[in-house]
Amino acid sequence: MSSADSALPVPVGRPRTRASRRDLWRFLAKRLVAGAFLCVGITLVSFVLTQLVPGDPAAANLGNRAVEDPAAVAAFRAQYGLDKPLPVQYAVYLGKLVRGDLGESQQSHRTVKADLAEYIPATFELALFAIVLSLLVGVTLGVVAAVFRDRWPDQVLRVVSLAGVSMPTFWIALLAFFVFFYKLGWLPGGGRLGPALTPPPRTTGMFTVDAALAGQWGVLGSALEHLVLPGLVLATYTVGMLLRFTRASMLEILGNDYVRAARAKGLPERVVVVRHVLRPALISIITVAGLAFGSLLSGTVLVETIYSWPGLGQYAYTSAKNLDLPAIMGVSVVVAAVYIAINLLVDLLYGVIDPRIRLS
């Protein structure tokens, strides 16, 4: 062989661990700052929105008689700082927010933080159950649809997924409730636990987890039983969404040269599909899963109301109805924070899955 063929050493792109770690921190810091601004924006929007409401929080939260009593109204206004000019109210709110104080709910007479601490885990438990379920079912079926592209399983799944995203959540929730609880009696209706049971000692606030931690298997069973119906209902939309999307991104990737190359290597089809196709497809699936989580939160408003699930959705609904300003703003901040966190998580997961992002 000619000497010219002896390649000179060429720098292989070296894994830039140190630099990339610093970049990671910078990236995180940037996202967090942006997130903080978003949160402030959100509070401003919800503040303005609630001011638009023609009603009066005092009227909404004081009784019929008390509202006619100037002393009671004044006391109420003073208690919630409603006697101050609007910009001051907002500034005071922001000031407290920075210190982690979300104010006191006018409906529950508790700090919004305490309320949220109770409701967030409930919703998180439900949403997590639903999203995990959707990911398992949606992604699996999406893979099946892609593998069987244009053949009957694909056609069937196409209808299934479209049906999933077309179901009115509230209707399917009622239907499921009626059928599985009332008619068949297979599953309990509403609530997080059977009435005879006391919630497990609080660690995470998620009954299933807490019950498991405390070893209270009966409670765990009941908590799981209660999760099933609302969880399934909540998941119908996201299963459809993820199925369709998984199929699309799988197909996009199946068309790539590197998949053909993997097949040409004689790898078993399972390895090709899982390692060479699904893995890169996960990058976009994760994005959609993040979006799906957002739509789940929307779904919780309806589902929690129907299933008496004491969570964020119900809280948001009742606060909006009662013009409970601190609660509405608290919910908004939390939801925005969740949104930011999920986006961040999605971005970080990209890095885990995709070395191109991790390394650049």
Partner: protein, 511 residues
Amino acid sequence: GGGSSAGTPASGTGSAAAPANQTLVVDTTFNLKTVDPGRMFETTGLLIDRALYSTLLTFTGGDVKKPVPDLAESYTASPDGTTYTFKLRSDAVFSDGTPVTSADVVFSLNRVKAIAGNPSFLMAGITVTAPDASTVVLTSEKPNPSIPFIVPNPALGILNSTAVKASGGTDAEGADKNDKAETALNTASQGSGPYTLSSFSTTTQVVLEANAKYWGTKPAYSKVVLRNVAANVQKLNVTKGESQIALDLSPTQAEGMKDVQVVNGASPNVFFLFTNNDPKISATTANKDFQEAVRYGIDYDGLVALAGTGSTQAAGVIPTMFLGSLPAGSGVKRDVARAKAALARSGISNPTVDIGYPSDFASNGIAFGDLAARVQANLKEVGITVNLKGSSVQTALAEYRDGKEQMGLWFWGPDYPDPGDYLVFLPDQLVGKRAGYVKGANPALEALGEKAATTVDDAERVKLYEQIQTELNTSSPFMPLLQPAQIVVAGQSVKNVQSNAVWLATLSELG
């Protein structure tokens, strides 16, 4: 006197006595902010606080016409109706075992007043004193014959003053800012009632446990779980035995239920319509002939049918179960011809008016939107065009309270079970003003009202209130429509199920 509020069980009750260790599951749609009596005035709070706190007087079963002894074994009223002296019983103790004294009563009642919260109006103009450890005197500035009907209110439940003070409670001036006991009271109750608070959430469930130190008859159920459940689900739960009591079913929902007791009480809520008497708001609605046209144009029977079995036409503004109510059947009857004649007399051609109502609100299973639509249809037959202007309860309430609605469709729920609470409909009073019914609109009626407010004698009072209502039914801008049914549905095992007009049901009486 009117219809009995004590319902009769729809079907036979179970025979076996409930075992002492049984749990009672009660489903209700929570309207609950707190169980601190000083701040509480919502339906669910009343239900719970009745079980947690004893009051000076109380009502038993469904009878709210007759206050009976609770912590006070007896009381006397001064003839002028300004001073009420209560004698406390000696054996009553709080749940921590300390005896109930007059100091606790004074503290509790003063605290309600000082906090200036929702129930503070109950104590308006009333001062409380304790001449000795077992005597409490309530003195009112004006004669106040309602006091025996006010003190049973669970908001006036008697707190263990020592314990409450220890957790930051105060009855002094400035309690609106300084009283910090609410959180503590939402964690553990400090009362002498049949139950104690075991766990509390304003949205999920509240658990009560029998008060081991209760001085009265021990309740049958050792534990009560109140769950926040929507009415439609309550029905399923109680049918399936998942709960024993459902408190919020509408008549329609309760119709035809099998294997449960349906206790069909009457609700003290009176739905009414008003046409604004203020010509500045609407010259049309302020017109007397127009008002008559509306009054006789409405199909009261149709509305009652709409409200479902158990509902009745409200003969006057005072509900049947309260003193002074008009006899059933004495209400206005529809007379389309008369209505048309009145309309013709008014000289207004093609009257068009807006009607305001809370469109997102239903009470006793009746949606205001449905009622309004009915009213619209009724009045159309008379020749009046009604535009439905429903809005969210908060928005509508604001308009209503500001007296801006041309026509309004609302209900009045009693603050306490006494006809005195219904003087608000008179000119220049709370509700009267909302309908533009101002001072001087009916001087004779106003005089009657003043007299009724200070009369102590029951027979006299009944007469006065009947007169007032008849006058209202003749010339006021108010048209009482109906009194819906208040239904308690209970499983077969529960005994002594009665519906109470003030606090829905007395949990400690259930067997």
